[in-house]
Structures are given as structure tokens and as C-alpha cells.
Subunit: 148 residues, 2 copies
DNA sequence: GTTACTGCAAAGGCTTTGCAGTCTG
DNA sequence: CAGACTGCAAAGCCTTTGCAGTAAC
């Protein structure tokens, strides 16, 4: 990601915070920057460990609470976690998921045709749509080999 | 659900168990029957409490382990839980989800057009598909009113 | 100056693990 | 009869909650 893109994303982030009445703190900025451009599905602990190198004073609780807050305003999402640990989807671009029901792994994929599928208006009623994705569940290649 | 449908579903269930090398036990049958036809998103504890009325000797651990086992063989699924508790989707029919990012509620909806959307073969590679669904994230009506 | 956020710590709750006994095939 | 499953209990881990101090607006 180049400088211009990063700063514009940061500005958009700040606007979004203000729109929701959230204050902009150094911690929130640091967490946002750690997530931007990432395509993983980290747990709160994973994000925390990524941050402490650059931000030794940040606490795990702040990271965890901030991630939940971000999820509430639609900046990130929580994913269909099958382990006992909550995981976040920090990829802000539109994408879809392959979800292995055996190992729990989530594999991202993109597909422009799926992106264009409209959300059926009559089905959603008064629901305010923030995003959509296709979740394909099944068995990944390594699990299939393992149990073959 | 009528008798014929229930017994055929049970037979299909038993076949699926055998196909995966799972033994058919009274507990597994009871749990399967408790799930069939349900359209909720219960936690393991919720399923357990539903069962103990009819099956006083069943243990929570068996219920929990069985649900995980069922999820592994694709009989049920785990859903994008945003609370700390794992929830299962026990509706075996094809359906889609509205997911409120604020209260975590998941609302089922059906849409035949979405059902027919093909999974892009080139994107999934060697992934064995068991099912697919659209997950629409956003804000439900009651949450929107609450924060308005 | 007010309101919201952070950091620390403890409490709480769900999930996992191990094992002996029992049951399925 | 062998392998798998159940039930019980304890251990483990993540998440939540409360509060005082601090920072954003």
C-alpha cells in the first residue's frame, strides 16, 4: 500500500469514528493501522501481539474492546469461528469465504460475479446492509487427504 | 413434519453416520431428532436443556461433542457467532443469514435466486463443497431504533 | 469541563481434556 | 471382541466487568 492510499484510508477511518461519536485515540489509530491491508483472520490476542512491538504500553483489553467496537461500526467483522476463540476479518475489501468444517480454517477468495449478486430487498425488510459475503462450507484439501 | 418425512430423515442421518465411520447411539439419535426441523441457532447448552426433559441421563459433554461431530460431517453448521458462545445452525434446508453486527442476532431468510448462484469453480480449487450461504451483515431494525 | 477511553485486575463462563466404564458393529 | 462413545470431573482459556486515572473535544 502506498502512502497516499494509507493516509486516505486513515482519514476515512477517522470520519467513520466521528460519525459514530467515537473519540480518536492513539490506540485506536494504532490498531486500525495494524489491521489495514491485512488479510488474516486474527484473534484479539493475535492483534495484540502484533501491536506490542510498536506500542509497548497498549493493553490487551484495549485491543479487544477496540476490535469489538470496530466490528460494531462495520470497520471489521467477526467471522464464523468454529474454535472457542473469536476471530476477526480485517480485510476491508469485498471477498468471500471457504470454510473448512473439519479444521475450521477460513480461506478467502474473490469473485466479481458474486460481488454483483444483489441482496434481495424483500427478504431483508428494514435491515440496514453494511456488507455481504458468500460463505461456502466444506472440506479443504489437506483435511480431505488426512481422512482419506 | 409428518412421520414419513421424519423416518426418511433419520435413515439419511444414519447413512451419513456410517459413511463417516460413526456409530449410531441412542444419544446421537436423540440429539439429531431434537435438531431436525428446528430453525434456531442454539448453543450447546440450549440443545442440552431441550434434551434433558426427554433424556434425563444425557450429559452436557455428550451433547457438546456430538454437535461438534455433526458439524464436522456437515449435518449442522456453526454460525458466525459474535458472542463468546458457539452457536449452531441446525436448519438443514438452504437458507441465508442477516447478521446484526450490534446485537449479534442472526436472522434467517430464504431466496431462491441466491440458492441458484453458482459457486465459482476456479476460485475454490480442490475444496469439497458441502453447502453455501450468503451472509449479509448490517444493523437490524431494533438496533437502529435504539441508537437513533 | 464533560464525556469517553484506557489500563489493570479479578471474576465469570464456556470449552476442552483425561479416564474408566459401557456400548455398538 | 475391538474400537468407539458416554459420562463425570477438573483444568484451561478467553471474555467480561468494574473502577480510578487520563485523554479527547
Amino acid at each position: 500500500m502506498n502512502q497516499a492510499t494509507e493516509s486516505s484510508m486513515t482519514e476515512e477511518f477517522m470520519l467513520r469514528c466521528r460519525a459514530h461519536g467515537l473519540k480518536i485515540t492513539p490506540q485506536r489509530l494504532a490498531i486500525f493501522k495494524a489491521l489495514a491491508g491485512s488479510k488474516e483472520h486474527p484473534s484479539a490476542d493475535g492483534v495484540y501481539r502484533k501491536l506490542i512491538a510498536q506500542n509497548p504500553t497498549i493493553s490487551f483489553d484495549t485491543v479487544n474492546r477496540t476490535l469489538l467496537t470496530f466490528a460494531e461500526i462495520g470497520i471489521i467483522e467477526t467471522v464464523e469461528s468454529h474454535s472457542g476463540v473469536r476471530r476477526f476479518d480485517t480485510d476491508l475489501m469485498s471477498h468471500h469465504h471457504l470454510h473448512c468444517v473439519q479444521c475450521g480454517k477460513i480461506i478467502d477468495f474473490t469473485d466479481e460475479t458474486l460481488d454483483k449478486v444483489p441482496v434481495p430487498e424483500k427478504a431483508i425488510g428494514n435491515f440496514t446492509v453494511l456488507g455481504k459475503r458468500m460463505v461456502v462450507s466444506g472440506i479443504c484439501e489437506s483435511c480431505r487427504k488426512k481422512h482419506a
